[in-house]
Assembly symmetry: C2
Homo-oligomer: 457 residues x 2
């Protein structure tokens, strides 16, 4: 490992220059105006892989943006590591809030500042430069590697699902490694062991042909907002328990081993509340706020609208009201099953004189939860790698959010997944002045090198 | 009365021409662009009064539009009738939905079609032409008359409240007569005996400094919409009973005499539901839908908004959510008292970690309920007048809406009020193609003449 360490440090400034070059591509996947830049970026990724020496590199066009796929199979007796990352980025606006232009990477206080620095170009480069370092110092790789770098993560990986289904055999591997999640803090490295799933709906209650005058008709006609409010109030109790029957049936209790790991995480509810400007962490009784954020399902109302919302008074009884509602799911909760239970319950609690329309917004993009088996050797290997790379023993953490494509690949191809992210919660992902620490960039390269060297099937 | 009848019929075509002239003024009070037209209209009203022969006519300028006031005191031993009406109108847009231009009055199928035809110029003219007819046929009036015709009814009578307070002595009278409410139908004349009051609030729940990511924080932080929904769900039970403690304390039961009158009204819930496209008339148990619309208080949510309301999914936990809520009040419910009870209850049901801001939108324009004493002789006099004018015995009806200035004048000056309206529910008040039947115009003049002739103190 000393040779690797020396190689990485000797090539540090070139590695930074190459990351800068990657960051200059305005590969904004959501906006068709950037289509050419996204295309150019996929070819740049191919060039990066070529330069490292990958023997097989293919750009797969999709109806959206390209999937770049590469393989380096040395020896079928060796284990195979499948890496997933993405070269597309979030839009950079509002541009005026950036201290320096988002696509002109700038080094400031040891941080490289640019759109995509953390999410996900910097982390993708940790893997590519680790592979390069292993090849350059040892002349061969300790494992077979397969690499998927897609261009539509920020738009829900919309064409990758089908592509994965079409290439299941090709993608077979012993472990899936993803670096697209943050560590706990600058001083406390961590490894993510879970992701929550997500289901999301728009519901609309209709009660009449038209809005009615509240004086003329008030008292004799249904009010769509009042009806919607009563329906919504029955979905989660005031103490935070989801009321949909059977919703907790498949939720696994937090194991003593996992609880022991969570308890190692430095956390203070008081600091957390002060930071967000909240006065309380309401939620399901019997769980800490961390447990609720990572390992328990949630129900949230994400938006609501109906009736008169302008200035002053309008005495209207609205005939229509809508809400966006969603649930985060945890391990063993099947999105389809939960969707069915929620839908049935909604119908059951809707009065017969209310027409309730339910639209499943995420039906096309299944978002399963994921929870690693923390006793699987890949977790220990990843922890050792982080400890070597970052100089501190990591803790295990959960992740309240969803990276739907990760659980999809992991489930469909069938392999454990390691969520080995290197950035920090305050790196301004999806916000102005996104950054990635140069120090963490180098430590990330070292960590991946260590992981690839020590991973066993 | 035969002389009156003959005079009115002989002068019918001039009365129609004069109404047309009145309707040509674009006296839209809400839009400053029409200020000159509103001013010109108040001078036209003065000219109408002058032509009839009123000895005292004053235009009182306000910070908004003029109040036109006239008196004709013959004999202080005679009873005094105070008439209230308004010369301003609602905006006419959308213009493209009018068959003929809104300020070019047109006769079509026996209807005069123009903005203000029913609300309230046509009905004001019923009074002025009745007074003229009495003078012309008898050389004197059977009562003293006082007339307020204001220019800001459609903008909440905002300067009339203070003007009334400043002229209480001048306005003293034995009865207040208002023609600004509809009858039941073309074949069933009616007299309105009640108005509901109105209180209206905007409430905003705030739970954090900023919107939060539902993956990162879901399960550990309050959601402003969820909190608002729980608060709103506690204001009215699902079977339609308002939950604010003490809210029904001052509500009077519907008297057997009133119930007997209401039961005379031809009504079918099935037809009513079909007309509005509703499947049910939900509401307070133990009351008919008519009783609930006219003589019971209501709580309605008039608008609601918060979080993400665009297309697709945004996984946000909103930090702020708002609603517009209002209550219609009935006789003996004091808006200030009810406001206090509602406010206290809202505070009581709001969790300590939620900041609830309550804005009283109508605080400056008190809207008291009004219920006539149906045993007062003015009611019988009005019913006889309607029966003579329209040829059919009227029924008594309530009015679910509010005309705040009426209950204000009635309470402040202290006198019974008679709500003797002549138009119909389908006369397109506040809508394109507003109309007033010529037949009803003439019958209205006859009715008012009869009322003034027979009214006793």
């Amino acid at each position: 490992m000393q040779q690797i360490y020396d190689y990485v440090n000797q090539n540090k400034s070139r590695f930074i220059d190459e990351l800068k070059e990657f960051l200059r591509f305005q590969s904004v996947s959501t906006d068709p105006a950037f289509k050419k830049e996204v295309d150019a970026c996929s070819h740049f990724v191919k060039a990066l892989l070529t330069q490292i020496g990958f023997p097989t590199i293919t750009i797969y066009p999709t109806e959206g943006h390209d999937v770049v796929y590469a393989e380096w199979i040395h020896n079928t007796d060796l284990p195979t590591v499948l890496f997933y990352g993405h070269y597309d980025v979030q839009p950079a606006d509002p541009y005026e809030l950036w201290t320096t232009p988002p696509f002109e990477p700038t080094i400031r206080n040891g941080q490289i500042v640019a759109r995509g620095a953390s999410d996900d170009k910097g982390q993708v480069m940790c893997h590519l430069k680790a592979i390069e370092s292993l090849i350059q110092t040892h002349g061969r790789l300790p494992v077979n590697v397969k690499v998927i770098i897609e261009g539509e993560e920020e738009v829900g990986s919309r064409h990758l699902y089908q592509w994965v289904l079409d290439h299941q055999e090709m993608l077979a591997a012993d472990v899936l490694v993803v670096s697209d999640t943050p560590m706990i803090s600058d001083t406390q490295p961590s490894l993510s062991i879970g992701l929550r799933g997500l289901i999301y709906f728009e519901i609309t209650a209709t009660t009449a042909n038209t809005d009615l005058h509240s004086g003329q008709h008030g008292g004799a006609v249904p009010n769509a907002i009042t009806e919607l409010v009563h329906i919504l109030s029955k979905l989660k109790s005031e103490d935070g328990i989801i009321q949909v029957p059977g919703i907790y049936d498949s939720v696994q209790p937090i194991s003593p081993a996992l609880k022991a790991e969570i308890d190692k995480i430095p956390h203070s509810d008081a600091n957390y509340q002060a930071e967000l400007g909240i006065k309380h962490c309401p939620g399901e009784p019997g769980y800490t706020s961390i447990e609720r954020r990572w390992f328990r399902p949630t129900f949230d109302i994400n938006g609501i609208w109906g009736g008169y919302t302008g200035i002053g008074a309008k005495t209207v009884i609205p005939c229509k009201a809508s809400a966006k509602i969603s649930m985060r799911l945890v391990h063993h909760q099947n999105p389809k099953e939960i969707t069915q239970k929620l839908t049935e319950y909604l119908k059951e609690i809707t009065p017969s004189y209310v027409d309730l329309k339910i639209t499943d917004i995420k039906a096309d993009f299944p978002s399963n939860p994921f929870l690693a088996d923390i006793t699987h050797p890949s977790i220990a290997t990843a922890c050792s790698a982080i400890e070597w790379g970052f100089g501190t023993k990591p803790v295990l953490q959960g992740e309240g959010g969803s990276v739907p494509i990760v659980s999809f690949i992991q489930t469909k191809i069938g392999m454990p997944a390691v969520l080995m992210g290197f950035n920090l919660p305050y790196d301004n992902i999806h916000a102005p002045n996104e950054q990635f620490s140069l120090d963490r960039y180098i430590k990330g390269i070292l960590t991946v090198s260590h992981f690839l060297t020590h991973f066993k099937r």
